[in-house]
């Protein structure tokens, strides 16, 4: 299982958001996309998923160009976990997860589809919620249900858009642990947009740091997350500790005073690059 992103470019109108992004990810790998707001993380996910159409470049999955698949075939390969889902109408947790089977069924559900949903719910310890309404769940529960739906889809690639948004510390760890476990167990390739660098460092096998629509650095967490890269891309001074191979990032000069390092690169300079 190998996904290759080759030279993808995307514009919103005349504003370039992705300028020539190339990345590769193998099976059993969890790739985190990090970078400041507006650096193109979510846009890249949406391009992979064909919600957006790249202007240039191609995304290849095991040598097949994703742009050539029809939407349903694509949905059988790629599962998408959004940041949050609107819940205007009361749908049970079971039916919400069942939607993950949509790309696999025509209209009638097979016993197998139901079995997959039940197994997914059990694996994620959501069984007790099966008949509760999705819109009545807490943020952490909702996030788990959305992940369960993507798993029931039986994809080979999992895309996650800031899955720890709105979650408390315990649920952040639980959800990310779950994702990392699934990636490992099912040999999935996962691409995840993340804001929290420490969580990304803890759970990812690879990290790509995006800056203004380009890949600034990519590789092992320890190689990418260093004080220099963070200073250049985020314009923030940090102290990076390296315990047992995983970097640990502490922002320094958080009060904004006496931080000569922080201001060495003005926003105007950053935009030109």
């Amino acid at each position: 299982m190998k996904m290759q992103i080759n030279g993808v470019k995307f514009n919103y109108g005349s504003v370039p958001v992705l300028r020539d992004v190339s990345l590769g990810i193998g099976g059993g790998e969890l790739l985190s996309l990090v970078g400041p707001n507006g650096s193109g993380k979510t846009t890249l996910l949406r391009c992979i998923n064909r919600i957006l159409k790249p202007r240039k470049g191609a995304i290849m999955l095991e040598g097949k160009n994703l742009a050539e698949l029809d939407l349903k075939a694509l949905a059988r390969c790629i599962g998408y976990v959004p940041q949050n889902a609107p819940s205007s109408f009361p749908l049970t947790v079971f039916d919400t997860v069942l939607l993950g089977r949509k790309p696999h069924v025509n209209w009638r559900l097979g016993e197998r589809d139901k079995a997959i949903v039940f197994n997914t719910l059990r694996m994620m310890e959501l069984e007790d919620l099966a008949l509760r309404l999705f819109n009545e769940l807490s943020g952490g529960e909702k996030q788990k249900v959305l992940i369960a739906r993507a798993i029931a889809q039986e994809p080979r690639v999992l895309l996650l858009d800031e899955p720890t948004n709105n979650l408390d510390l315990k649920h952040q760890l639980e959800v990310l642990g779950l994702i990392a476990g699934l990636v490992n167990e099912k040999n999935l390739s996962a691409v995840m947009a993340m804001h929290d660098l420490n969580l990304a460092a803890t759970f990812s096998s690879k990290i790509a740091m995006l800056d203004h629509g380009r890949v600034y650095a990519a590789g092992e967490p320890g190689d990418v997350l260093n004080a220099e890269n963070i200073r250049t891309v985020y314009g923030v001074e940090t102290i990076v500790k390296n315990d047992s191979g995983r970097p640990y990032i502490i922002p320094s000069n958080t009060n904004g005073k006496n931080n000569a390092g922080l201001n060495h690169r003005s926003p105007a300079v950053a935009l030109k690059e």
């Binding site: 919600i51 959004p82 749908l91 049970t92 139901k114």
Partner: protein
Amino acid sequence: MAAKGEVLDPREAYSRLTARKILFILIGLGGLVALVLVATSLGSANISVGDVASAVVARILPFLGLQIGDNTDAIIWDVRLPRIVLGVVAGAGLAISGATMQGIMRNPLVSPFTIGISSAAGFGASVAIVLGAGMVGSGKYLVITNAFIFSLLAAFLVYGLARTRGMRPETLILSGIALMYFFSAGTSLLQYIATEEEVHAVVHWLFGTLAGATWENILVITVIFLACLPFLMKYSWDLNAMVAGDDMATSLGVNTRRVRALSMAMATIITAGVICFTGIIGFVCLVSPHITRMIIGADHRFLLPCSCILGSVLLVGADLLGRTAFQPTVIPAGIVVSVIGVPFFIYLILRTRKEYFQ
């Protein structure tokens, strides 16, 4: 509803829930048949439910050789049944249109009426009544064809406007509401310049009634409804996915633009087909899907058929009430539906613990 406190295997619980939904459909169908029989038996001439049943069976299964008085047969088949059967098909058609539109727009406040289709029909009818001008047909058909064509015209306009913005629900709703005001103003203008007699006719048309029922009307509506039903049912999965957001639906393999455009087209044609014969009966569209959602949830595979049944029951019931409550005065079904339906609906909203839309 999940059983509280009780430990139940989720599989067992889910199949029970599904069984309950199917039971609800069956009970609804049974109730509808009973209501139709009772409604047919009530009226100025004295006819028992048994007479109605045998008169219906006698015509449907003539080889049984049931004997019915000519008079009874004529009252049932020529006077009462058309009106009641029209109530059944019109109610079902309006309800499924409402459920579909609420689904594709992801908004429980939408119905073919809030997005201008009915105002356009009213405008079309007014043009025919007041100016005597129309696109196709003449005489009594002028009003019908005009109402139908203007409804479709409004839908095309809404669709055209929304297309420029990628068929987002917000654009569809906003352009629909704008058109609704436009056509209402047009109707008001026509009433302003019309003679008293014409104003009376326009107002009467706008009330919405089942009084003009004929078997031909019923046939037209039924054909449209049955032609669209399988496609809408097929889309019920896509509608479920689209309720979770367009991005989510796309990533589940749904072509959201196509589903939205086609479902809207079908909902419009059904609505236009109904209201061009009945006038504006609005509330059924909005409220049937809501009540159904409160009872069995929002899974469109069940929501669509159940809404249809409920819509039929509501409309036939309202017409029955309007016919019998203040005899000999007959109140149009369109009015009764709202007068009775609104308090009932408000009661349901207040009674339901759950916030079911935000």
